[in-house]
Symmetry: C2
Subunit: 287 residues, 2 copies
């Protein structure tokens, strides 16, 4: 498996695969790969019954545009040689790991792609500019890779809905697949940022998913009032951790609309700061 | 030549052409075709030496997103059957003429594409939201047609520079060709909006190009002060017409930067209202 750093070289490489009638599958990541990322390559490989039709392209690029000025862009973990080894084992065909200069030769992009409504609230409230950075870089990557299928992880639920909306609105000819969140044994959603946690924070972190599961169970039992669910989750996180809650929200699972009564599929999403580490998680509840 | 109104049908049609190794050439228009539009198909046909390699797709879509609330969206001239005849004669292979609902099934697009800096000033000042409407619809059309080459007319100079910037920033794998402005015998730049002019306004309209030519001649003679050029043009338009000047500006021809001294290629661009009709024109001067 090769690592390609230049856009032109990647295009040439992918064109060769297209000439062989391969289906181009794209998995954009910021690297420091964990099983959440790798599961997407594995999922794709399982979809590819002949084990020869899919050409799996994974990008590894820590995109400065989606980090705020006080966020963790500089300290975001990076380990390309380890990533390459893991990706190869998971069945990735090619890694695209461009430099910032390759992606933004002028330092930034005068052109931006923005999605309204679904990016408002939730992570959009605490991270102004974040989703515009995501949709802009994903548009660039889509135009570079020109995939038939692209995978996004469910852990970044608002991101996945935003990308789906962007693909629909801008007519990208790409099928978006949202892959299930992969969790540690104790339920903590896998995230590159988990590496920031102190042992004590790591011990507390599973309360996020436990509280989401409790919320989901209450809905399954017939509770329709979002504020009751929300209060239970908030109380549990406060009781069982030192986490600072950024948000706990119940939204329509398809379009992230706020809801005053739970009468269709919803997502319960939260962001909690443990020490200086911001963790997010969510659970979808079918009603 | 067929007229296709559905996105899916167009994609299928173009995929057939791609399978025959055709080069997909795209000419986006708002219809009510004149020789300015048709010259782009003719240019492409001349580039296509074998007369069989290029597959020329022309879109005809009056895009509501790029019209302001007080602009001429409703009265913008439309004549699809006449357009189809002219396009066929010019060598167009297929017309894409979607409905507004086909392009914006939800009435609008939550996703927008914006280009900063080059859209500021000139037409961007008088038409807030216009260029965002253009870049959004062109992104959609690019993703629908997936052309190898796209033509834009030089008459809409700021639009052409904006599209070039967008293509570069978002890595669209498309070559952009800017086709020369086609003019009436008396110099008036061809425009669908010329049909709005009264006989008296039509008589006055050539002063726009005459004044641009005078400005260009002064620069060629060594004049380097933009304000002198500008003043000459403004005076001429005021003396020889009843036109209301929206702007007359001299900008860097490549990036539309303002300039206090003319020491590289520039574009002289103007917008003038004759009665209720807004006309634009420009001239590039190589220094």
């Amino acid at each position: 498996m090769n690592i390609i750093k230049q856009i032109d070289a990647l295009r040439e490489n992918i064109n060769q695969a297209k000439k062989q009638n391969k289906t181009i599958v794209f998995i954009p990541t910021m690297g420091f790969l964990h099983q959440g990322h790798l599961s997407m390559a594995e999922l794709a490989r399982r979809q590819d019954e002949t084990r020869s039709k899919f050409y799996i392209v994974m990008s590894i690029f820590v995109n400065p545009l989606q980090f705020g000025p006080n966020e963790d862009y500089d300290k975001y973990p990076r380990d390309l040689s380890r990533d390459a080894e893991l990706a190869q084992r998971a069945g990735v065909d090619i890694i695209f790991a461009p430099t910032v200069h390759e992606m933004y030769p002028e330092g930034t992009s005068l052109t931006t792609v923005s999605v309204a409504e679904v990016t408002e609230g939730l992570c959009g409230a605490g991270r102004p500019g974040h989703f515009q950075g995501v949709t802009t870089v994903v548009s660039k990557l889509f135009n570079i890779v020109q995939p038939d299928i692209a995978y996004f992880g469910q852990k970044d639920y608002q991101q996945a809905i935003t990308i789906k909306k962007m693909v629909q609105d801008l007519n990208f000819p790409i099928e978006i697949i949202v892959a299930p969140t992969v969790r540690e044994q104790d339920g903590l959603a896998m995230s590159s940022r988990n590496s920031y946690l102190s042992p004590e924070e790591r011990r507390q972190a599973p309360v996020l998913y436990r509280s989401l599961q409790e919320g989901a169970a209450l809905i399954k039992q017939g509770e329709t009032r979002p504020e009751i669910i929300r209060e239970k989750i908030v109380q549990r996180i406060r009781n069982e951790s030192t986490g600072q809650i950024e948000y706990v929200e119940i939204r329509n699972a398809d379009n992230l609309a706020t809801t005053s009564i739970i009468d269709s599929n919803v997502v319960i999403a939260l962001a909690v700061r443990l020490g200086s580490t911001r963790l997010i998680d969510n659970i979808v509840v079918e009603v």
